[in-house]
Amino acid sequence: MSNNMHSLLKRQLKQYFGANPYSDELGPFIDAVNKAYFDFDADRNMLERSLEYSSQELLQANSDMQMIFQAFPDMLFRIDREGNIIEHKWGNREDLVFPSGSLVGKRIQDIPDSSARQNFIKSIENVKRSKSVASMEYSMMLDGKEKFFEARFLPLTEKETIVIVRNISDRKKVEGELKETNETLKKNDRALRNMLIDLKKVHDELKSAQGQLVQSEKLASIGQLAAGVAHEINNPVGFISNNMEMLGQYVADYGKVLRMVENLKAAIEQGSLEKARSMVAEMTKFEQEINLDYIINDVNNLLQHNQRGLERIQKIVMDLRTFAREDKDTMELVRIEEVIDSILSIVDNELKYKAELKKSYGDTPLIKCNPQRLGQVFINLLVNAVQSIEEKGTIEVKTYRQGEYVCVDVIDTGKGIEEKNFKKIFDPFFTTKPIGQGTGLGLSVSYEIVKKHGGEIRIQSKVGEGTTFTVMLSIS
């Protein structure tokens, strides 16, 4: 029998055996029971100790979590499926919806104003159904100010949801300002767009006006050239007319000779040789009189001359027509010299009385261009050149290749241009000519045409010595 007996066993032995000691036979059994009691106690103590330690750890973890939880500036709510608040934490003091007290047991949807309530209920439903995060924004009046909040709903367990409510008033304010700025920008943008549309319209109108100007400028140059052109035509018409008179005379003489031949034929048939002889003599005399051999020769000359005159007229008319017609935006591969020649035939009459024309054509490649429009450029340059020559001078047209450009120099020995006007001469409506002589558009139109051909017009001039305009046209 152990000296150290478990208190319960001692109590039980006393209760059941009283003061009488139990028999020795029971001794080992009692010892075994006693040991079992102590073993149970030891086991229980160990279990209790482990429970104690795990509880402490649990509480520590819990309190750590609480600390983290409390550190959030946001309001946090743990709610059940119906929105009942199980646990909550206030965020910043200024967000206090209720001055004090716990919200536990209240429903989260009852906190905000009625306007947000339905959204709360919907969000709770959403989270329940989809098990995914839902969020919403709402506003409330706090201390007379409208505060904005964002509520995010995160499923925690089957039955619980975490709701994080953040005061987003500051963010909203910034957003509002941004929105305002954006609105202003949008408005400005709209205004700019409208302006752009207007500008485009104006530009289109200008373009159309420019087209009209180009055309009218062209017609104006034709007008200026009309006299010269008329003269050019009149000249062949004159000599053709004279030749025709001569040819008429010749035809009358031919008629007389033919009639004499008829009479001679009749006399021979009648057998009257005498008569025939006298008629031959008369004919010979007439032939000598009219110099028939010369006439036969001259008729050919006159016909050939007339033929050339007609061809000349035909060419002038054709060049003029080509130049004057409404142009199409078509580009052709041409030699620049051909373009210059066709223009020279139109302006020839303007030129020849005041200037000696010198042509020196180089070996230039074909270029892609609109010949009509380039023609207009050369008319302008040549007419300007002529007009710059006060009495008599020379105009030289020179073509050559320079790098990737075909260049045409129009060089005059006119009065020259003052340097201060160099920049202005390509401005529309700038002119130094007397009223009626120029539109002020010639060079500006020329400049635009050359620019469209990927080229440019350069100018060199010295007052009193003359001017050189160089038209550079891109080969590609």
Binding site: L8, R11, N62, N84, I86, V104, G105
Partner: protein, 379 residues
């Protein structure tokens, strides 16, 4: 102070037996017995005949304490004669637990305050919110007046509790005795010895002393999970896991035990208020710590009385302790005896709730799962 103690045990009747001559000297008789026995008119008449002038104070129990013995289905009787102290009994009835505060105040108002030294109170154990009752009672009493007592019991049945009023044990009654005079010394101590364990849970739904949910989940289901096969024994087995309760603002925690369970609305009724938002934690018992607790309560009461060896000690201990300690239950009474000494008469009962300040000078409160001792001595 003169004390006479008797015990009724089924096999031997009253021990020691009553003499034929009534004792008209005794002023106060404490009677603690099982509900069944207290309902037996014959036995009650017998007691009244024996002490014709005495004020009866007693109740049904979940175990009677006579000396260092703890019994069931017995009656523990202690008759007291005070040399210098007057006794006055008061009682009120209570219809429903919600009325507890008002009923407590009513009782407090009834108690004459002249020369009042101490109030000892016994309450119906089921149909009451002990927290409110104590609050109401002390509301109407001067702050220096100490109040101790307890809630009556009904074994592990939780069916019907009785409290003496006008000499008759009755349902729905709250009784108090006022002890008057300046020669009476009263000491008290109350201690549990339970340990909290597991996570702290938030009371998320409750009404008064009815608890529905912890952490948004049914509290009843939680208990059933922890009790396993012992869930069958609810509400009694719920006492294995009392709840330690603390308000959020760091108030000292109190212990709460179950009085009843309602399967229909999944609710549990506790002896005291279960405020929403308070933090609750399960508690577990350790034999040695419980016994140390009882011993600690005895030391506190002994110290409070000023190291006089007390004449009488009324022990009110929680039924939960009895359910845990089982065969070892007497060890806690013996530990009280060890502190107070052989001279002191011990009597008392196992209750559904204890009433006492936790420490001398503190506010009187309802406790659960404690050993609460009130010691009396006359100088």
């Amino acid at each position: 102070m003169k004390i006479e103690q008797k015990q009724w045990i089924s096999k031997s009747g009253w021990q020691p037996a009553f003499t034929d001559a009534p004792d008209s000297e005794m002023q106060l008789v404490f009677v603690f017995g099982s509900t069944e026995l207290l309902k037996q008119k014959q036995k009650m008449d017998e007691i009244k005949r024996a002490y014709p002038k005495a004020c009866f104070m007693g109740c049904s129990t979940a175990g009677e304490i006579s000396g260092t013995h703890v019994n069931d289905e017995t009656i523990s009787l202690t008759a007291v004669y005070f040399s210098h102290t007057r006794v006055q009994g008061y009682s009120v009835t209570i219809d429903k637990a919600e009325d507890s505060l008002g009923v407590g105040e009513k009782l407090g108002q009834m108690i004459s305050q002249k020369d009042l030294a101490h109030v000892f109170v016994l309450s119906d154990g089921l149909n009451v919110n002990g927290t409110d009752l104590v609050a109401g009672l002390i509301n109407k009493l001067p702050p220096h007046i100490t109040v101790t007592g307890g809630l009556s019991g009904d074994g592990a049945n939780f069916q019907e509790t009785l409290v003496f009023a006008d000499g008759v044990p009755q349902k729905n009654v709250i009784s108090a005795i006022g002890l008057y005079g300046d020669k009476l010394k009263v000491g008290y101590g109350s201690l549990g010895g339970w340990d909290s364990f597991g996570p702290e849970r938030v009371i998320t739904r409750s009404k008064g002393n009815i608890l529905y949910e912890l952490d948004g989940q049914s509290a009843l289901e939680l208990y059933k999970k922890y009790l396993g096969e012992h869930a069958q024994g609810l509400p009694a087995t719920g006492l294995l896991f009392p709840l330690s309760l603390r308000a959020r603002d760091g108030e000292t925690s109190v212990v709460r035990t179950i009085l009843s369970v309602d399967e229909k609305d999944k609710s549990m009724t506790f002896a005291g208020t279960m405020p929403e938002g308070a933090l609750a934690r399960f508690m577990k018992a350790n034999f040695d710590r419980l016994i140390d607790g009882a011993s600690g309560a005895a030391k506190a009461s002994y110290a409070a009385i000023g190291a006089y060896s007390p004449d009488l000690a009324i022990l009110i201990s929680c039924v939960g302790r009895k359910l845990i300690l089982k065969q070892r239950i007497e060890e806690e009474v013996e530990s009280v005896r060890d502190v107070l000494g052989e001279r002191t008469a011990l009597a008392g009962f196992y209750s559904y709730g204890e009433i006492s300040p936790f420490t001398p000078g503190a506010k009187c409160e309802l406790h659960n799962q404690t050993m609460t001792i009130t010691v009396f001595s006359e100088i």
